[in-house]
């Protein structure tokens, strides 16, 4: 009897797959289902909160989307991104070149580590934002000042991650290279840098994230240009939907950029991790 009932229980879902069951199966197979669902949850909550409204300065989701397309349509958004991305890209590239160099040097040499590591540990842990206003004293309010703000936030992150990457290279691989009489040069270029490169790249990704914070700080604090200007301007004229659209768009752009970099990292740089 007990056996019978168990068998019928097992057979039941196969005979009549309910709609709920179908959704559950679909959800298990597709990650995108959850992405869509969680986006929908937040946007619905936003729309409802905007309609109540919880604050006079809280536009609905639909108003924000409309404002976004309006700004894309009249070109202000595109011009703003053109201005914002310049110092960001410039700053990140400079930070990457210097940061990876300094980080690798600190990883390879104990003297460089002793001299430089504490400085960058302090700079990474400390609220660098406090120093951003200083930049304007020397470099005014132009591209240089904004680029410098990006570098101030991105460089310590990249340096420390590159340093950690080199220090955590598989010691067995280095021993292997030594056992085949590899020179120090061969050790660095054939073992240490390739083995560290996934972590180096991860550091670069964190540097880009810090760079986004830096460029937004610079545009809100130093000089109202680009997306920062859109935010400040629409706030001052109480165009809240436009302001929210600008804020949401920069967060979305940064998220997509970082997700893209992460995809590149796991799929191209670490093929051994992908199969898991």
């Amino acid at each position: 009897m007990a056996l019978m009932s168990q068998e019928t229980k097992l057979a039941l879902p196969r005979e009549a797959p309910t709609t709920l069951e179908a959704i559950r199966l679909f959800a298990e197979r597709r990650r995108s289902f959850w992405v869509v669902l969680s986006l929908a949850c937040l946007f619905t909550a936003w729309e409802i909160a905007g309609r109540i409204p919880i604050s006079y300065a809280f536009p609905t989701f639909s108003d924000t989307v409309a404002a976004f397309f309006e700004m894309v349509g009249d070109g202000t958004m595109i011009r703003a991104y053109f201005l914002t991305l310049q110092p960001l890209v410039l700053g990140v590239v400079i930070s990457a070149l210097c940061g990876i160099g300094i980080g690798i040097l600190m990883g390879l040499s104990d003297k460089a580590e002793w001299l430089l590591a504490p400085v960058f540990i302090v700079l990474q842990a400390a609220p660098m934002a406090a120093l951003v206003p200083l930049v304007t004293f020397i470099y005014g309010i132009g591209l240089t000042a904004k680029t410098l703000a990006v570098i101030m936030l991105a460089l310590p992150v990249i340096v420390l991650n590159s340093y950690k990457a080199v220090r955590h290279v598989n010691p067995s691989l280095v021993d292997m290279c030594r056992s085949f009489q590899g020179s120090r040069r061969q050790q660095i270029f054939k073992i240490i840098i390739p083995d560290a490169s996934p972590v180096l790249f991860a550091g670069l990704r964190l540097g880009v994230a810090a760079g986004f914070i830096g460029v937004m700080l610079a545009e809100l604090l130093i000089t109202p240009t680009g997306i920062g200007d859109l935010i400040t301007y629409h706030r001052s004229v109480a165009n809240y939907a436009h302001m929210y659209a600008a804020v949401a768009s920069i967060i979305a752009v940064s998220t997509l950029t970082l997700a893209g970099l992460q995809w590149f990292e796991t799929n191209i740089l670490r093929p051994e991790k992908r199969r898991k």
Partner: protein, 270 residues
């Protein structure tokens, strides 16, 4: 079981192991890590064409001794003489096989096997030809363009062994090479290793913590005692290798040596 070691096991006698054909001589090696004494007064000779195993409980310094012979770790005192020359660092006459394989995850099997030659500046065509030959010898033909993460543990260590053979060194140093390989593959490996010892006239120094593995593959077993690592006994199993592997594993002499070593080591077990 209280049967003593059979005649197959010779007692430790430094004179009997000194021969003219010794390729590697370990002379008075001591190693300290700060206040910790890892090795004390190790004197050993290793002959060409023979496989010697360093066996002992954990903490006896067997891997440290192997890495000192390899030149990867400096000794505190004493010296390593290879082919009548005192060596202080790694050299072309020695090749090392690592416990964790030490394969470059970003390189194919072919490039991993040829890596020792690549470092020596051997031209690509030549080194690929040599690498392919040894890949075939260890039974990995068809896997040349695969990456390490696409191979099983056993296949990865085959790559490690092919890489060590590819540089054509006189002395092969194997640091617990099969400990990360599953049991079935380990037995196959041990058989393959015996075949390689027979066809390649090289000096093999092998580190393991498995008594059965040591007795099965070794011409000579060096027992080390722990804290600090010292020579305890040297045993020559003298097992008839013409028999099939399965017969050897059931052979009374083989089992007696295993038991004898266990009796020597059992009081070190926790």
């Amino acid at each position: 079981m209280t049967i003593q070691a059979s005649t197959a096991a010779a007692q430790f006698d430094p004179e009997s192991v000194t021969t003219d054909d010794s390729v590697v001589r370990v002379e008075g090696i001591c190693k300290r890590y700060g206040a910790v004494e890892a090795l004390r007064g190790i004197d050993l000779q290793f002959e060409r064409g023979k496989l010697t195993t360093l066996l002992g409980p954990s903490g006896c310094g067997k891997t440290t001794l192997l890495k000192i012979i390899a030149g990867l770790i400096p000794a505190t005192s004493g010296q390593i003489v290879i082919n009548d020359r005192v060596v202080t660092g790694p050299g072309p006459e020695r090749a090392f096989v690592f416990q964790d394989f030490a394969l470059m995850p970003w390189a194919t099997v072919l490039r991993n096997v040829g890596f020792g030659l690549e470092l020596k500046g051997v031209a690509e065509g030549e080194r690929n030809r040599i690498a392919r030959n040894y890949i075939e010898q260890v039974g990995l033909q068809g896997f040349e363009d695969k990456f390490p993460h696409e191979l099983s543990g056993g296949m990865r260590q085959r790559v490690g062994i092919a890489r060590a053979f590819a540089v054509n060194a006189d002395v092969l140093l194997l640091d617990e090479p099969f400990s990360a390989v599953d049991e079935q593959n380990r037995r196959k490996f041990q058989e393959d290793l015996l075949r390689l010892v027979e066809i390649e006239r090289k000096t093999f120094i092998f580190v393991t913590h498995s008594i059965e593995e040591a007795v099965y593959v070794s011409d000579r077993i060096v027992l080390l005692s722990p804290r600090p690592g010292r020579l305890a006994r040297i045993i020559e199993p003298r097992i008839d290798r013409s028999a099939s592997p399965d017969e050897i594993r059931r052979d009374a002499a083989y089992l007696d040596v295993v038991e004898d070593i266990w009796q020597s080591l059992r009081h070190y077990a926790e």
